[in-house]
Amino acid sequence: MRDAVIALALVWVAASGTAVVLTRDPLHQAFVAGFFGLCLASLYLAMQAADVALSQLVVGAVALPFVILLSLAKVRKPE
């Protein structure tokens, strides 16, 4: 049972990681990357690494997309 959960989480990570690469628009990519971080956190949780899952969650799904979105807003703004 535990192996099945880990295998499922691994498939999620592989699928969402591929999706990040295949998404070419940076704005969409920020959201897909956030979802990838969520999948990675669930993989760590499946492996019972709850501390690392929490760290991954706050960095991969909160901080990283936030910084990317603000950078895009700055770069795209017509001056």
Binding site: D3, A53, L54, V62, L70
Partner: protein
């Protein structure tokens, strides 16, 4: 460099990478294999030696506490680097964006978003404090809790406006907490020296396992890490938000 030499360099590098990856992957534990000997040792020793029911916190903040000290400094240096790179340049000024249509009122955020933010922001503060203070008992700790605390500000920004969120980001205080957190970790380490033991030795009374006050220096280190991480992440957000919202080219040097 011609295409031929480029291809040759690539082939050599690719072959080296393939060999290194192959050897490395062959040495990995098999899928579903039981935990390593180190994990068994830590699980057996964390509670009797450190009275910390979260073995990961016992490793990161005690057994390998010096590694976390360096990670603290990495985060500190990264935040300082961002602050320096994103400072207003000599041809830039900071001012609120001007309204292109003064007769039109700026629509406030929708009531639903406002309500969500009102509920979510205090909950995030409580959840962050809970994660920080229970690091020695359950999964979590200063880093995770610190980012959760910082994300409360993101919600305030989302639910209100930049000028409202700006009141929660006093630059000097944030820089001070970022530095004080990083320095506080060293001070806790020096306390070990003053007690006659090694740097970062767990010299504080250990308490009972499972209690809020247990693990000796682990909750203290969690607290200083939280001060640094929360201050650092809000500072990071402030620098990026300032760049997006208020810092623009000076009118004198403005193009078009």
């Amino acid at each position: 460099m011609t295409d031929r030499t480029r291809l040759r360099v690539f082939l050599v590098a690719a072959a080296g990478l393939a060999v290194a990856l192959g050897v490395g992957l062959a040495g990995l534990p098999r899928f579903g294999s039981p935990a390593s000997t180190y994990a068994d040792v830590i699980n057996a020793l964390a509670v009797p030696l450190r009275r910390s029911t979260d073995a990961v916190s016992a490793v990161t903040l005690d057994f390998r506490g010096i590694d976390t000290l360096f990670e603290e400094f990495i985060l500190f240096a990264a935040v300082a680097g961002v602050s320096i790179l994103l400072r207003p340049l000599s041809d830039e000024i900071g001012e609120m964006p001007e309204d292109q249509a003064p007769d039109r009122r700026v629509p406030p955020p929708s009531p639903a978003v406002g309500l969500l933010g009102t509920i979510l922001a205090p909950l995030l503060v409580v959840a962050g404090l809970e994660t920080v203070t229970h690091g020695q008992v359950s999964p979590g700790g200063g880093f995770q809790g610190g980012v959760v605390l910082a994300s409360a500000l993101f919600v305030v920004y989302l639910a209100t406006s930049y000028s409202r969120a700006e009141r929660f980001q006093p630059g000097g205080l944030l820089e001070a907490s970022d530095g004080a957190g990083a320095g506080g970790y060293v001070i806790v380490g020096v306390v070990g020296l003053l007690a006659g033991a090694a740097f970062l030795s767990n010299t504080v009374s250990l308490g009972q396992p499972g209690n809020l006050i247990s693990g000796g220096t682990i909750p203290i280190l969690n607290a200083v890490v939280a001060v640094e991480v929360a201050g650092g992440f809000v500072l990071l957000a402030k620098e990026f938000l300032d760049q997006t919202a208020v810092i623009r080219q000076d009118r004198g040097g403005r193009r078009s």
